[in-house]
């Protein structure tokens, strides 16, 4: 356990860009998140408050965690914990979680089934999204069924509003985190294209 083997928090030099200092104070950086140290079942209840009891999110803009590759969830939680990815909700939630806790949560959600969205897809949007996904070679990392692999997240059946927002955040460079791959890919993708991609991926059906 590194966290225990390592120096306690007061011995850890925190080196952050000046611009982040205000944000950090607001994050109450020395405090542990509410889930740290709890048994998995209780952690899952806490996460479920926003992400849905079974990892299928029903709240607007909140990603579903069910069916995501375990490594994709693990890496994002570590980026939040290490403050490499700053989000006013998730960065504080992740403080104090150990690697083992993060990996157990990730495996739990990876095993939950993800439900397809309700409602019929818009055929024209689906066709446009399919074309764009081909053009941008989404499948070369996210797999041909968009189920994700390794650190690359599952896109199929993810919430449409979340997908669209995540792509906009990458394009505007506001998502944060050390991954620059998606920033490069979305640089010249406009809103209409992002919306078509999000609709297609949310409703993806191999058919």
């Amino acid at each position: 356990m590194l966290r225990q083997a390592c120096a306690p928090p007061w011995r850890r030099a925190l080196v952050l860009p000046l611009a982040c200092v205000g944000l950090l104070a607001a994050e109450a950086q020395s405090q542990e998140g509410p889930a740290a140290g709890l048994p998995l079942e209780e952690q899952v209840q806490l996460c479920g408050g926003c992400h849905g009891e079974d990892g299928n999110a029903v709240e607007e803009g909140v990603p579903s965690l069910a069916g995501q590759p375990a490594l994709a969830l693990t890496n994002q939680l570590i980026y939040f914990r290490e403050r490499l990815r700053r989000n006013e909700i998730m960065t504080p939630q992740a403080q104090g979680l150990s690697d083992e806790e993060i990996q157990a949560l990730a495996s739990h959600y990876a095993e939950q089934p993800l439900s397809p969205p309700d409602g019929k897809p818009d055929e024209a949007l689906m066709e446009r999204g399919r074309e764009l996904a081909r053009e941008h070679r989404c499948a070369s990392c996210h797999r041909s069924d968009f189920s994700g692999q390794q650190q690359m997240p599952r896109l199929a059946h993810q919430r449409e509003d979340y997908l669209a927002q995540a792509m906009r955040d990458y394009r505007e460079r506001t998502r944060g985190g050390p991954d620059t791959t998606m920033v490069d890919i979305l640089r010249n993708v406009d809103d209409e294209e992002i919306d078509a991609l999000a609709h297609f991926l949310a409703h993806f059906d191999r058919g």
Binding site: V15, L84, D184
Partner: protein, 420 residues
Amino acid sequence: MPPLTPPTLTRLVLAVATAGSFIVPPLVSAEEQEQEPAWAQGRAAELGESPLSPHATPLTITPEEDIPVDHLRLPDGFSAEVWAHGMPGARMMALGDEGTLFVGTRGIGRVYAVTDQGDARETHIIAEGLGQPNGVAFKDGSLYVAAINRILRYDDIESHLAQGEDIPEPEELTEAFGLPDDEHHGWKFLAFGPDGRLYVPVGAPCNGCEVDPDTHATIHSFEADGSDMRIEARGVRNTVGFDFHPETGELWFTDNNQDWIGEHGPGDELNRLGEPGEHFGFPECHSVGIVDPELGSANACDDKTLPAAVTDPHSAPLGMRFYTGEMFPEEYRDAIFIARRGSWNRTLSVGYDVLVAKLSEDGLRADLSPFMVGLLDPRENSFSGRPVDVLQMTDGALLVSDEQNGAIYRISYESPSYME
């Protein structure tokens, strides 16, 4: 490694082009290329569905029982043990005057310190939240850290650690050094030379492209405070490891060659800097004198310095140090140990090992051969660890960092029983 024979490397795509066609198949169009991730730049359109992409580095702790130290194979008399672990992403190493080992990382944004308690080691996180703090170097009680966008100096760091004190905020030297902050190949190695100057590479901000020869694909040196910048070497695509010859003081460095030109070339490099300012070829001349199919003219290699040795294409030779210790046999004296992180941009994996380079009598060339192997399983084409740096300890043992497992191995030597 036998030298690659063709004077001009043919792109892999030529080999698969329709017979009878003399037209080079189009690369990905400029507009599409802009939207490729950095690692895919230069990938031919035909290879758009290629499964090759960089392997992700774990950001979590590898449990001690899963660290593949039992896989390691070394020449007779050498043995390996896990010296420190629990440091996800452990990469470049530097030794403090009091024996503290400092370890840089990339994705996880941390710098670690390892203090030796005799039979056990204690690990500390001394910095976090940095942008790929790969480079670490130590001088006069201070630790220097190079992140993509910053150069930092931590004064009296070992005494703060020894007294269990808070590590004070570092001195920000970023402006004094004034280095570019490109993400692509922007993670930096750091080392002090025998002249007391700090040597800092700036990689090419691309897979292959024209660069300003005074700002990119260079090795610079500075006074420790960031003043008096000099360009030591040009045309160096991406070096992530160097050291200085213990006798001559010459700078020797590894360099990673271009991806997507071919599975079998151009070979990665070990170089020797003879004169300050020499040009090592990037982007128009690669490896043993291979003219770039797009950016190089016929005589592009004429005025370039060719490598002292080449090794497998894409094998990623990174950290390297001369061995000056007494523990290993005489034949290792002044040889170079080179950590190879291992390939991603070829179907059959190579590297994932430590090589030893033995210099020729005239000190201009080197022979490479395997020293520490076993992390690559060629039958499965899979790997269990990725050596990134080597470092000689004061007792002559050699440390090897394994980024994949966040572990550091210690390699020691005792004469085998069959030797008198």
